[in-house]
């Protein structure tokens, strides 16, 4: 059974990120001949020598013309063990927004470092965002080892420097891999040029890193998405609550509670098109039927009576601001979407802005602008049913929407009730 692993890559073109992705795709036979031919054509037209693998991910006209990456690109490859989804994010300073977007669903992040340049401000920023978004696994890929003569000393210097920085972050699993994307060292197979390195190749690490236990299987949370009432002869009285398990495990016979009503009931069955199931866990999409006829609608949360999310209209969160069109200030009113629940929210306070390079908290600021991250208090028009983001990504995250333009302007990670 092949599992799905989503990973994000961060780094600039100079770090060899495109070459690394190109190498992973090429060696897993996921680049096709017509794509190669089209990249070779374009490289020639642009007067570049050889075939520029970056052209595989830089798909838009403006990107090709200006030689930049402006957005998250998704790439796919598979090995017999896993299917991989890559969210490839540009590394420039102004693109924190893109990395946050790409990282939000990732199981793992690869931060690229040029072995000659060592840990740069940009590398620290990428690692910080990965930890803020709670990506469970972080890989520091020390690239271009061929240009430092595959020197173990240089690699260890970088590892030490990065480790001391990472100690300030909330990173649970940190792996260092010395490699050369250009030469293929330690990308797919272990390199003969670095016999001092005893770890896995990057691909082997991606195939084997244990992700099943990253999910929250403890706090049962089922945000109701859609109420199914067929009104057909065969299913005359059927009333099912369709949704996706956000966290935890549900079983028929479980005692449950529905928020906000607080009514209790028992799970009668968990249905799918392919038949009822004995257990439903994240991220399964299922339909829950209850033994009692109680009023349940979209936006409600099914949980266990002894383990409920926080229900509150006041919350504190780390917010990343995503637009240049406006900024976040106290008393700003916005739309908020959290699980399947939509409401309005007002900013009741901005506590500090975080300098994502130094992790310094600047408490003197009163606004957040594009690509800035800060600690914010919000009051919502209706209670939300949430958990701390660090405990549950699905029930701890929200987006903020500008009610005039309908644009998505903020991404929030809940710290708790305020």
């Amino acid at each position: 059974m092949a599992e799905l692993l989503r990973f994000a890559t961060a780094g600039s073109v100079d770090d060899g990120k495109s070459t690394l992705i190109g190498r992973l795709l090429f060696d897993s036979k996921s680049i096709f001949e017509d794509q190669l031919a089209s990249m070779a054509d374009a490289s020639q037209r642009m007067g570049l020598g050889g075939t520029n693998l970056a052209l595989l991910t830089d798909g838009l006209r403006a990107e090709r013309e200006q030689g930049i990456t402006i957005d998250v690109a998704y790439r796919y490859f598979a090995t017999p063990r896993r299917k991989f989804i890559i969210a490839d994010t540009p590394g420039h300073v102004q693109y924190t927004r893109n990395m946050v977007t790409g990282a939000s669903t990732a199981d793992l992040a690869i931060v690229l470092i040029d072995a000659r340049k060592g840990v740069l401000e940009q590398s620290r920023r990428h690692a910080f965002i990965a930890s803020l978004l709670r990506i469970p696994h972080l890989v520091l890929a020390v690239n271009k080892m061929d240009l430092v003569d595959y020197d173990q000393g240089r690699f260890e210097e970088i590892v030490d420097e990065f480790r001391s920085f990472a100690a300030k972050l909330d990173v649970t699993d940190l792996t260092f891999i010395p490699l050369s994307a250009l030469e293929g060292d330690n990308v797919v197979t272990r390199s003969a040029n670095m016999d001092w390195y005893e770890g896995s190749s990057l691909l082997h690490h991606l195939e084997s890193v244990h992700i099943a236990s990253d999910r929250n299987l403890i706090d049962a949370r089922f945000p109701v998405q859609y109420v199914l009432r067929p009104h057909s002869e065969e299913f005359h009285d059927y009333r099912g609550y369709a949704g996706r398990v956000a966290a935890g495990v549900f079983k028929p016979g479980d005692e449950v509670m529905v928020l906000p009503s607080g009514f209790g009931s028992t799970i009668a069955s968990i249905d799918t098109f392919d038949g009822p199931v004995d257990e439903a866990f994240a991220p399964m999409s299922v339909t829950i039927r209850l033994t009692d006829e109680i009023d349940v609608s979209r936006g409600d949360m099914i949980c266990r009576p002894q383990n409920q999310p926080i229900a509150s209209q006041d919350l504190e969160a780390m917010v990343c601001w995503l637009t240049e069109a406006s900024s976040l200030t106290p008393r700003t009113k916005l739309g908020i979407k959290h699980t399947t629940r939509s409401a309005r929210a007002m900013v009741t306070g901005i506590h500090y802005r975080l300098d994502i390079n130094t992790l310094h908290r600047d408490e003197s600021v009163a606004t957040l602008s594009l690509n800035e991250i800060g600690r914010v208090s919000l009051r919502t028009t209706q209670p939300l049913f949430f958990d701390e983001y660090r405990r549950s990504r699905e029930t701890g995250s929200f987006i903020l929407i500008d009610e005039a333009t309908n644009a998505t302007v903020g991404a929030g990670m809940i710290l708790g009730e305020s």
Partner: protein
């Protein structure tokens, strides 16, 4: 129980979540159905999303009039089985009504004309969300498109101004006249689609399997001899064993040499192929480096 899902079931769960979210938040969604394998899988996912209830939105076929008979038969049978409404948006009617001008010459194709027919139908029926079967692995412009792809009053896509899409929180807010294209299969690959068709025993039109057909060589592809294309001087029709990797307008969809007669054989073939499906079979994408991006900006699928 180890609480692990296979990649196909994880993709399925993600797609069902997206489809339900749209049904819950939009007033008038529609599912765009071409009869191709991707829209067939998407329709099956919609069926699963609402079972045991019916799919709560209609299906729309943008019909160039140049489709293979097997595809029409399949479409009509499936729609009847599901008991849902079929809306046909006809390119022929757009031509007759003077909305578009038919291309002329032996290489004429109605593929480009579909955009106008599609946008007119969305406007006429006041659809506010349209599900499409596009996948990000198909093409480089699609690789950067969101699951919810916002379209303005003119149906245009602005790739530089897309809404950030985080976690599984989709923002479908729009004004009247604007709409959202929704791509529930964004994260599926061609191989995933075939593996899913095999795993679920889904029927697909017969032209996906190897069969004998009169074809001729043009632009490095095998085009079928049909009433919709003119065979040029020097092009020699011959009967070959072929199958279609994509199903689209007969005038621009090429067949590939293939002995694959079962879904399992197709999976082996797709796993080993060295050409993308669009590169191998679609004349429309060969027009230029950014052909798909340009068409998408105008409102294409």
């Amino acid at each position: 129980m180890n609480y692990e899902l296979s990649h196909l079931r994880a993709l399925e769960a993600e797609s069902i979540h997206i489809i339900r979210e749209v049904a819950a938040e939009f007033e008038r969604p529609v599912l765009l159905f071409s009869g191709g394998k991707d829209s067939i899988v998407m329709l099956r996912l919609a069926e699963k999303a609402f079972w045991p209830a019916r799919i709560p939105f209609p299906v729309m076929h943008v019909d160039t009039g140049h489709n293979f008979d097997e595809v029409y038969d399949y479409r009509d049978r499936r729609v009847a089985e599901l008991g849902i409404r079929l809306v046909v948006a006809s390119v022929q009617e757009s031509i007759d009504g003077g909305r578009v001008t038919e291309q002329t010459g032996p290489r004429a194709s109605r593929n480009q004309l579909q955009t106008v027919t599609l946008l007119d139908a969305i406007e006429r029926h006041e659809f506010d969300a349209a599900f499409g079967g596009a996948r990000r692995d198909e093409e480089k412009a699609r690789a950067k498109e969101r699951v919810y792809s916002f379209r303005d009053d003119f149906g245009q896509w602005d790739p530089k101004n897309q809404r950030p899409e985080l976690w599984h929180l989709y923002n479908g807010r729009h004004r009247r006249g604007e709409h959202i294209r929704v791509f529930p299969l964004s994260n599926w690959t061609e191989l995933d689609i075939w593996q899913y068709i095999a795993a679920d025993g889904i029927e697909v039109p017969s032209i996906y399997f190897a069969h004998e057909r009169e074809v001729f060589r043009r632009d490095g592809m095998w085009l079928a001899v049909t009433p919709f294309v003119t065979v040029l001087e020097g092009e020699r029709p011959e009967v070959r064993t072929v199958r279609f990797r994509t199903v689209g307008d007969a005038s621009c969809t090429g067949a590939v040499d293939s002995p694959a007669a079962t879904v399992e054989q197709i999976i082996d073939e797709v796993a080993a192929t060295r050409l993308t499906e669009r590169g191998a079979t679609r004349a429309d994408d060969r027009a230029s480096e950014a052909a798909m991006e340009d068409r998408k900006r105008e409102g294409y699928f």
